[in-house]
Symmetry: C2
């Protein structure tokens, strides 16, 4: 941390320019922020530069002079690394800058990161996000946030630019992370259930487009059934959200549940199916690939020949 | 079967006056049908009589002169019994009467019942229903139907009176049953997942009303989460739909899946939780009671002290 004084609220660093982070960075540019972005992938840096952003190769470079540092990486370990590792952002960030931490992680990890940021003179907002790549690009994410009043105040304009809805869930780190994990438990189970059901329908000889029409109008519907089953009907497993995301997120749910001595048999069964899909070579494919696993295990032919 | 000739389309027998069957019988009365109803429970018979229906003590008595016979009992075995057992409806039903079979059952059972009805000179409509007791009372059920053109034609006015939506799924019995089982797999898994998630939220110290607000607006939402979690928030487990219903329906899913050599780990895990709830003495309580099972297994206190 430098002693450069109060950071300008209009300069933001976005660490991690995957589909979510890049969308957030571009939304911030549209809203008039000076945006410095950091990623290992050159195409993402070029897209940011084309939108008038500053392309950086290290978190430290991006964090120089930034009033807010958004970490949009894979997990707690990567978040810790980009903040406190070699060329990390925390060492150079202006005093009092807010870290907006959006990676999915356990509440315990969020609390530990918050303490470390506070020790470094930064404020921390536990701010996991929901909504997917398309809504990230439109600045229409949902944020499940918790943290101090100071953290919310310093992040307010940034959150306005990237989100359509900010849930203020509490005054300490960990609450946002907990809420996100509850959502991910449901999302992960519902995708697996959707794939289990639509492939069983195939096994029973039902017309799958009719199944989609009937179920989306019935009590068996879920947000995920409605959103993911069209991928199966189209036979298109190009990744919008990958199998590996839920290997990770249901893994965190399982670790949390084990720590809490909480039995979670639905989440456990779903995780096994994501592991099977990843083990069968579909880890980078769309998470609706679980339908292909069920199909292989039962001799069903799905649309597209899967 | 008698030889009384073409049955009048305006006389209907409803066998089974539980929450669904009674609602259907009363909707038929409102639509001007002559309705004869049969049940073991005296209060249901009295409600039907008060609405101008004919209260009967045997299926045979109800089926006399009926152009349509609705079987709204628990499963395939009961359906077979009320049609072909002692004092069964089939022996006295007018030739060509349509059996509208609404119990949840496997497609194999539906096919077998259809054959037996046809052998007895009746036509059979595989017609499982969805929507719950409230919509049954309003004549606004969803019907997932399959059967011959003759069966649909003879049942048309009856279906109009009880349903807001009739899915015509095919020209043979079994397709409707298959669709219903796919829906029940999803519904059963989603209730269990909702209970697993909301009780985990309690374990993590989250405010449960806030969890409900956030999740119902997020990708983790399901029709069942939205519908059942309010029971948990209110601590009210009075049965709208009981645990035993899903012990039965996920049991059928498991039997079907085993027959088809189809692995269904999500449905299997969910069934274990319904069995645990029933085994713990909650079989007649609302299916949201699974939250109380999770709470007992993890030391969580839910609203209402459960």
């Amino acid at each position: 941390m430098s002693d450069a004084g109060t950071p300008p609220a209009t300069a933001v660093a976005v660490i991690g320019l995957g589909s979510m982070g890049l969308g957030m960075a571009l939304s911030l540019r549209k809203a008039g922020f000076a945006v410095a972005g950091c990623d290992l992938a050159q195409p993402a840096l070029e897209r940011l530069a084309a939108a008038g952003g500053r392309a950086c190769t290290t978190p430290a470079e991006a964090a120089e002079g930034a009033g807010a540092i958004l970490t949009v990486v894979v997990n707690a370990a990567q978040t810790s690394d980009v903040l406190f590792g070699r060329d990390g952002a925390a060492a150079v960030a202006p005093a009092g800058a807010v870290v907006v931490s959006s990676a999915t992680m356990s509440p315990g990890d969020a609390e530990a990161l918050a303490r470390r940021c506070e020790d470094a003179g930064l404020v921390y907002l536990d701010a996991p996000i929901s909504g997917g790549a398309a809504r990230a690009a439109q600045g229409e994410l949902t944020v499940m946030a918790s943290g101090s009043a100071a953290a919310f105040a310093r992040a307010a304009a940034v959150l306005d630019a990237v989100a359509v809805k900010v849930h203020r869930l509490g005054d300490r780190a960990g609450v946002g992370a907990s809420m996100k994990m509850v959502n991910q438990l449901l999302a992960g189970v519902h995708i697996a259930a959707a794939c289990e059901a639509i492939t069983l329908a195939g096994k029973l000889g039902l017309d799958l487009a009719t199944v989609y029409e009937v179920i989306t109008g019935s009590a068996g519907n879920s947000w995920m059934f409605e959103n993911r089953v069209p991928h199966v009907l189209a036979g298109d497993y190009a990744p919008l959200s990958s199998v590996e995301i839920f290997v990770k997120d249901l893994g965190i749910v399982q670790d949390m549940a084990r720590t809490e001595r909480y039995p979670a048999p639905l989440a456990a069964a779903a995780l096994q199916m994501y592991l099977a899909a990843a083990g069968a070579g579909m880890g980078r494919d769309d998470d609706s690939s679980l339908a292909r696993v069920y199909a292989r295990l039962s001799g069903v032919t799905l649309p597209g020949g899967a």
